[in-house]
Amino acid sequence: MKRLLKNGRVVDPANGRDGVFDVLIDGDRIARVASDIAADADTTVVYVPSGFIVAPGLIDMHVHLREPGQEHKETVATGTAAAVAGGFTAVACMPNTNPVNDNAGVTDYILKKAAEANLARVYPIGAVSRGQQGEQLADIAELRDAGCVAITDDGHPVATAMLMRRALEYTRMFDMPVIEHCEEQTLKGEGVAHEGMHASALGLRGIPGEAESIMALRDISLAELTGGRVHIAHMSARQTLDAVRYGKSRGVRVTCEVTPHHFVLTDAMLGSPIPYDANVKMNPPLREAADRDAMLAGLKDGSVDAIATDHAPHHYDEKQVEFDRAPFGITGLETAVSLCFDRLVHAGVISVSRLVELLSLNPARILSVRGGALSEGAPADISVLAPDMTVTISAASMRSKSKNTPFDGWRLRGGVAATIVGGRVVYVNESGHLPMR
């Protein structure tokens, strides 16, 4: 069966396209991208409304699907349902499950659940160390052979400089990135919020930006020493961005990602509108305006490589406790596209083409996975985006099993019209006016 997406604004930076084109999907592949493709008898024609964007499938390279072990928060099925509703055709999931994804058995299990759900593609990320205990390397070649695309001890930093060195040396053989949760743990201490005026006013223990940048500098130095590839996860502090720029200026193989909440929100949220709201508690914490502005500058000038959500579902009961006791993290899959359009594209920070780089092309390159481009012959993973759709975020109607988002009730400009994975339409927004099923 063939499907022709007609007259959409195709934004595909890998192929240098940004303009009105037709995209012909044949089975699970992209057959052609050109102007005025003629439809034959067995082709379903979908007229893409004016202004809608046809982009290579978005890839969220940092999500927690919680399965196995914490299925009360999220499962592979609910997490990938949230992903496609958020416009993502693929997600890379973190290994801090229970048991930890430090062996091929767990990787196989996640991939089996992903195949059963049959929604977004799932790329598991393996652990750096056995049990994420920070002592001995996990069987990384085995994880890679089972389908892992990167390694990380996310949730924690790689415990020691020596272990990080060995991980970078070892993964260099496979050209796999080591994804690092940068946090100098003694400096973070018992902190729960960004160290600054707002945390002080509320009596919350602080975490300075340097807790992140010190670890980033360690890892960038080790990437330079070893020739390995390090990817800085969920960058939040301006000092860390400086560290990344320093590394890049020296030719170190370092890349980084920023979450929507770190380029939209600041620590002013700690006190207002809801004081001590556990849905503004995440790690790294929301930082001050200067940091948020630095992230925007990095997105604009190219220092930031990717936008990832750090989708971290937690059960309502777990978040409905004192701020100090609540777990870190918020969901992100179903709010990212709207926040990106509203706060980056419509705010004039970046172009749509740059947004596609950040959400699709660069994540595909960093993880060395298929996708990121609407090339002929490539798998038909396509996100149809509606940049002018008015979206009111509703936590209650989200597909994620957890509703822990600080964006509930926000009205934003920009949304997802449809998501296509391997030629199958896996999501259509009912208010998107896209005649497709």
Binding site: R130, Q136, L137, A138, D139, I140, A141, E142, M162, L163, R166, E169, Y170, R172, M173
Partner: protein, 105 residues
């Protein structure tokens, strides 16, 4: 140069293995001997990718099941025992010459 043993073995005339110095490895250079064997170990399947008249060498002592499978070490392509025997003679000769002996003595 390649870090893929399969690429390295393809069409090889001679495969020279080397011992992993486990006694000097407190710092976990690689994850486990199991993974080392799966990733780098010389197995019958890998030998079959080399030339049909390949010879397998190893200066010994071997860690069987780590860098080399016993079937390969003791198999038809192995010249390891000859290598080790000749290695003794070569060392004797070198030591003799270094100690002042003359060629032809």
């Amino acid at each position: 140069m390649s870090s893929s043993i399969d690429a390295a073995v393809a069409d090889a005339d001679v495969i020279m293995m080397l011992r992993i110095q486990q006694e000097r490895m407190s710092g976990a250079f690689f994850p486990s001997t199991r993974e080392y064997f799966n990733t780098f170990g010389m197995t019958t399947e890998r030998v079959e990718k080399a030339k049909p008249d390949v010879i397998i060498m190893h200066p010994g002592p071997m860690n069987r099941g780590v860098e080399i499978a016993s079937e390969v070490a003791d198999g038809p392509y192995s010249v390891i025992l000859e290598q080790v025997s000749n290695g003794v003679a070569v060392r004797m000769a070198v030591l003799y010459l270094l100690a002042g002996g003359q060629e032809g003595d």
